[in-house]
């Protein structure tokens, strides 16, 4: 983990190459995070991956969390790992819910990290985050004809109504 001053140094260096890509930093419970501008998240990820002296070349995990009722509510997390220095850093892009049927959008990082292929599909499947430029953005774990985004916090939980066809037929 980069410590808190190290995180600020990274932020300063990013600011030089990509002004405005990092909106804020957070250092909480020994874990460092860069809060990224969703429009420039690919630039930031590429910078962290390719810049000499950074080398966060391994994407451990890509996942989404729903921060409802906070706004913007969706956080796309990229857990990056530098295997040489054994350091993790988290890049977090916050996406607002556009409301109605529209889906929140962010650029796909499959080109940078092929490992994100299945994980972005999973995020789409459960949260309805649309990853622009993903080669095959379809549901992965849920059935293809499923309606809704079940891991959003406002998705209703509860049982599905059970229909007893036999007794209804007997009663006529």
């Amino acid at each position: 983990m980069p410590d808190a001053p190290g995180l600020e140094l990274i932020r300063g260096e990013v600011e030089r190459d990509h002004p405005g890509a990092v909106l804020a930093t957070s250092f909480d419970r020994e874990q460092a995070a860069l809060i990224a501008d969703p429009a420039q998240v690919l630039d930031l990820l590429r910078w962290l991956r390719d810049t000499p002296g950074q080398g966060y070349r391994f994407l451990s995990s890509l996942h989404v969390a729903d921060y409802l009722p906070a706004e913007p509510r969706f956080g796309v997390h990229y857990e990056l790992l530098n295997r040489e220095r054994v350091e993790r850093i988290r890049v977090k892009a916050m996406l607002a819910d556009p409301g109605e049927e529209a889906l929140p959008q962010i650029d796909s990082c499959v080109e940078l990290f092929p490992t994100a292929h299945a994980q972005e599909r999973e995020a789409f499947d459960f949260f309805g985050i649309e990853f622009r430029g993903h080669p095959e953005l379809t549901r992965i774990l849920l059935p293809d004809d499923y309606v809704g985004w079940p891991q959003r916090r406002d998705f209703p939980i509860g049982g599905e109504p059970v229909t007893f066809t036999y007794s209804e037929m007997a009663r006529g």
Partner: protein, 407 residues
């Protein structure tokens, strides 16, 4: 018709066509023993050769991550165990470790050692299940019986310490739920003594088995760079020559005090994968032995009554204990808002757990970065342009647990 064929005349039903160049799409699974769970493979075959392969998953998706959001922190533990049902101790450790980091709870040394001990026993157990079933796929049926014999001894140890053979719910936030019982150490030491001999016997059965060698050597190789691109971790990555192991890289549990090696392969074919896992079993046995030797005295769970249940004996004598017990059992403990990602080395690679706390007694999000789910992406690279039979072998060597893939 036979006459017509013998004379080289096409009887009009296309039997004389050259069938080897036609590409045929075949569906394998989801219910097929060689898919090691409910995995469906859609493969394009040209004769016997796989030209394209697409795994279709989701058949055992049970919504565990969503269910966790509706349970208090300590009730989530049995849920997450049932994701990857072969390495349940690892699921517990990833989750409990993440929650401990969220609340800043330090676990006592004895708990660290006990957790390490059970994790490594679980690693041997997982590799034994892998070896038995994969060798079975390759026709070595006796391996299944031998592996499951030793696996049963590990399950006996689990039962002795925890009361359950599988899904033990042994790890708690703050430590482990109970100390190991009398007689456990002797039985475990006997196992530590026997296991390297058994591994030697497995090697004797397989290492000079011509069928096994021809089926595995040079099959399903994927380069180290490609594996890293695809995010593959664990024995698959180490078999390709990359000595990456979170137990060595990060400081967690009692691993920094343990003396063990990281086995690596050279070319990353199925034979290397087999060798790496076999060697890991021996290394894990060594860690179990060291845990027993160096097991510190002292409490096996943290003392903080805000998060940890008081001992049963105190309930009848202490009012405070009764109140703590009541609060913990009914509401559970609350966690300050925050988020933590905690990754450990499971038998299949990096098992990461992300927990988001919103200040209530229930986690707002529990996500598992399951190694099987990510590793499965490398399957296409392993299987394409090999024979169907080799694809089955590669799938076994990939060792996905579909409970973990689908969650």
């Amino acid at each position: 018709m036979a006459e017509a064929l013998a004379n080289g005349i096409d009887p009009g039903i296309g039997l004389n066509e050259d069938r080897t160049t036609e590409v045929m799409t075949v569906n394998i699974g989801p219910h097929h023993p060689a898919t090691h769970g409910v995995l469906r493979l859609v493969v394009d075959l040209e004769g016997e050769i796989v030209r394209e392969c697409k795994p279709v998953i989701g058949y055992v998706h049970t919504g565990i991550e969503k269910s966790c959001e509706d349970k208090s922190y300590w009730k989530v533990i049995p849920f997450v165990e049932r994701m990857d049902y072969v390495s349940y101790f690892f699921q517990m450790e990833a989750y409990c470790g993440a929650v401990e980091r969220l609340i800043g709870l330090e676990i006592p040394p004895r708990a660290k050692y006990l957790r390490t001990l059970f994790l490594e026993l679980n690693r041997i157990h997982s590799h034994l299940v892998w070896l038995g079933t994969t060798a079975l796929d390759l026709g070595a049926i006796s391996m299944l019986w031998y592996c499951f014999r030793e696996r049963d001894r590990i399950l006996d140890l689990f039962e002795m310490a925890t009361g359950q053979r599988m899904h033990t719910r042994y790890f708690q936030v703050g430590g482990v739920i109970e100390d190991i019982p009398l007689g456990f150490e002797a039985k475990c030491r006997q196992f530590v003594e026997d296991m390297p001999v058994r591994v030697g016997q497995y090697e004797a059965l397989l290492d000079r088995n011509e069928v096994f060698l021809q089926r595995t050597k040079g099959v399903g190789a994927v380069s180290r760079e490609r594996l890293l691109e695809l995010g593959v971790t664990g024995p698959l990555l180490r078999a390709a020559g990359e000595p990456w192991d979170l137990r060595k890289a990060f400081d967690y549990l009692a691993y920094p005090e343990m003396d063990f090696k990281i086995p690596v392969g050279t070319v990353g074919d199925n034979y290397d994968r087999y060798r790496v896992r076999i060697a890991e079993m021996v290394e894990s046995t060594r860690i179990v032995g060291q845990c027993l030797d160096a097991l510190p005295e002292g409490p096996f769970i943290a003392e903080d009554r805000k998060y940890v249940l008081p001992p049963r004996s105190e309930l009848s004598t202490s009012m405070e204990s009764l109140i703590h017990h009541f609060k913990l059992v009914t509401e559970g403990f609350r966690v300050e808002p925050g988020e933590v990602y905690y990754g450990i080395e499971s038998p299949r690679g990096e098992l990461g757990c992300f927990v988001l706390a919103d200040g209530s007694a229930k986690p707002a999000r529990v996500h598992f970065r399951d190694p099987s789910f990510v590793n499965l992406q490398a399957f296409r690279d392993m299987a394409v342009d090999t024979y169907v039979a080799d694809m089955i072998c590669s799938l076994g060597m990939l060792d996905p647990i579909l409970g973990g893939v689908d969650r």
